[in-house]
Symmetry: C2
Subunit: 385 residues, 2 copies
């Protein structure tokens, strides 16, 4: 296998983009990534998108987006693994370059969620859960994550305040990210007193509905050294894993097995340990998710994730900065785009381009992207070349 | 890159399967393929599915199907390129094995179309076209292919009778396939006199709505020689290409550019020419499609596809047997499964297991799978090892 590097990244300003369609925001982000990479061709492309069929009545994004990007007749693939679709697109692009089949590969993610048709966004998102055994009985994602939160609180003494601190920290980071959907600071009091969605999770514990896209350009590491205008970033580890799709099938609701396995595979491939990671972008679709994930990635002992955020260990200036971009919570969560946007942030950090969010001396970064209530997960580890 | 072989194939009996859900038919087919291969583990899996979100309100098949197949926490990916989703799943599995990332890979396709929720099957399928510029104005797939048919008839003198002969031939072949949805012979008179859908295409020019799945097991060719119970089949060429998603953006409606390009890439990789192909499974979603595709694959000169079927050249005993399985027309067209089922048929033919449909001395077979009105295409070339 060839070593693979990231030589360009780009994303549009996320938000409620009523004036732009899915194809517009994808092309905008793709052109930014291509310009950042300074390449004049793309050999193949991978697009992560969860459910453009239910959101906007459009499948076949492989053809649509290659067409609108004007890249001719290149091979093009859409991948889907619910909210882990973007991470999988990065992984497929990695494999394409590593195998030797393609040299310059565009990977991207996109979701257009606000002008939803049909049965609405909650229904569209619920298709990431087990429809026959979960959703038909009335539960949706805030409810599923609330079950995990209650379990974690009961078993480990995680507090309501600690959950809120995840949102506070991520909004603090997001306030320094001009591309974030909600670049506003919030307080723990505001989180706790906002509208209840699924006890204990209020609306400010939940990531928002977002229109957005993010892209990156990959190529062989040897080629990156020659053609890259900016410091290239090497993908040193990739891991993908699955778990039961339904929460009720799991023996433990306080750990996310797919994340544990995907991380194990990525750490092994990269030859690094959790302690070696300088910063990480993780899938904080709900505040409880970030707490569980930071434990499952091995950053903190099981049950210590809530205390870690409370003590500021995961803040920008902490020992293990988490979600410096603002995370899904503040930056936004256009589901298919999220996994690629995590990579965009890590590349900016490793290049030293993260401005007010810059983590000092960042050399190794990790992304963790997951689908549904954790039924799938993708982990990537990247290093400055 | 490592050479890749197919060591097992399986598919369920296709049809209107009211008693079985998507997960049931996928697992049924996957277990048949795993049994056929004689393996006791799967390292990763790829599933092609077009729009389970719109058909049954279920995305996240990567997790759902790995879960129900009981293969633990393995990496799992769902790919989508409209009706070419199955072909892409095979291509991704090929890349995974070729790259050295995985050894034993399950590739499959599935679609559960009959018990459709929401706005119905025609709407769900229309999401493979350009929603904003085609579908919102009222056209659906029979109409798009009818435009191609009229253009081909006007330019090359292709006749209504020749279109009907494609359906007659494929039902003749399908009558010998016990897994086909409609294993019944039909006459040209029946085709021409059946209900008009979009002039000149009647309902018997159109492939049906089908529930079905198909799977294959891939591994490195060197491993196949050691572990395969049955004669392994090598994938010697793979090609994927895209075209404009909308028909009105093309300069010529009588050729499918993505198919031309995907075939060029596959022929080049395999080092073979159209004349070397002993049999092919092609994407006869409508009768006109088979005529255009057999020209675009280089089997016949442009404009000669209609005459070729009329002369029996594409029949089971002809010089270039096309769709020996019955094709989409008679075997059925569960959209995401079709591309994998084409590979299942070619493997059976190359192994000499196709019983009443067996093509004599078949050594090299080709599959051509496409999405929408040809906006994407995947071509594979396989050879007996």
């Amino acid at each position: 296998m060839r070593d693979v590097a990231i030589i360009g990244v780009g994303m549009n300003k996320w938000g409620e983009l009523w004036q732009k369609s899915l194809r517009d925001i994808f092309v905008e982000s793709a052109l930014l990534a291509i310009q950042d990479a300074g390449v004049d061709r793309i050999d193949s492309m991978y697009v992560g998108c969860m459910t453009s069929g239910l959101f906007i009545g459009q499948e076949h994004l492989s053809s649509l987006l290659a067409d609108y990007l004007g890249v001719g007749s290149i091979p093009s693939v859409r991948v889907e693994s619910a909210c882990a679709s973007g991470g999988l697109a990065v992984r497929m692009g990695f494999m394409d370059v590593a195998s030797g089949m393609s040299d310059i590969v565009l990977v991207g993610g996109v979701e257009k969620m606000t002008d939803v048709s049909g049965d609405g966004a909650t229904y569209a998102l619920s298709t990431a859960a087990d429809q026959e055994y979960e959703v038909y009985h009335g539960i949706t994602f805030p409810g599923l994550y609330a079950l995990m939160a209650r379990n974690h609180m009961d078993r480990y003494g995680t507090t309501r305040e600690q959950l809120a601190q995840v949102a506070v920290k991520n909004h603090e980071n997001g306030s320094k990210n001009p591309l974030a959907q909600f670049p506003h600071k919030i307080t723990a009091e505001q989180v706790i007193n906002s509208i209840m969605v699924a006890d204990p999770l209020t609306i400010l514990d939940c990531s928002p509905i977002t229109d957005g896209a993010a892209c990156a350009v990959l190529c062989p590491a040897t080629m990156a050294e020659k053609i890259s205008k900016k410091p290239p970033v090497k993908i040193i580890g990739t891991g993908n894993a699955t778990d039961t799709i339904a929460l009720h099938s799991r023996s433990d609701l306080t750990t996310l097995n797919a994340t544990v396995k995907a991380a194990e595979r990525a750490y092994q491939m990269a030859g690094v340990k959790p302690d070696d990671i300088d910063l990480a972008e993780v899938h904080d679709c709900f505040t409880i998710a970030e707490i569980i994930i930071t434990e499952d990635l091995g950053f903190f002992k099981k049950g210590e994730g809530g205390k870690a955020v409370e003590r500021g260990l995961t803040a920008l200036e902490g020992q293990k900065p988490i979600n410096t971009s603002g995370g899904l919570k503040s930056k936004g969560h256009p589901v298919g785009a999220t996994g690629v946007a995590q990579v965009v942030e890590v590349v900016h950090q490793l290049r030293g381009e993260a401005e007010k969010r810059q983590v000092k001396d960042a050399k190794i970064g990790l992304t963790q992207n997951m689908g549904g209530s954790g039924g799938s997960a993708v982990v990537h580890i990247m290093q400055k070349m």
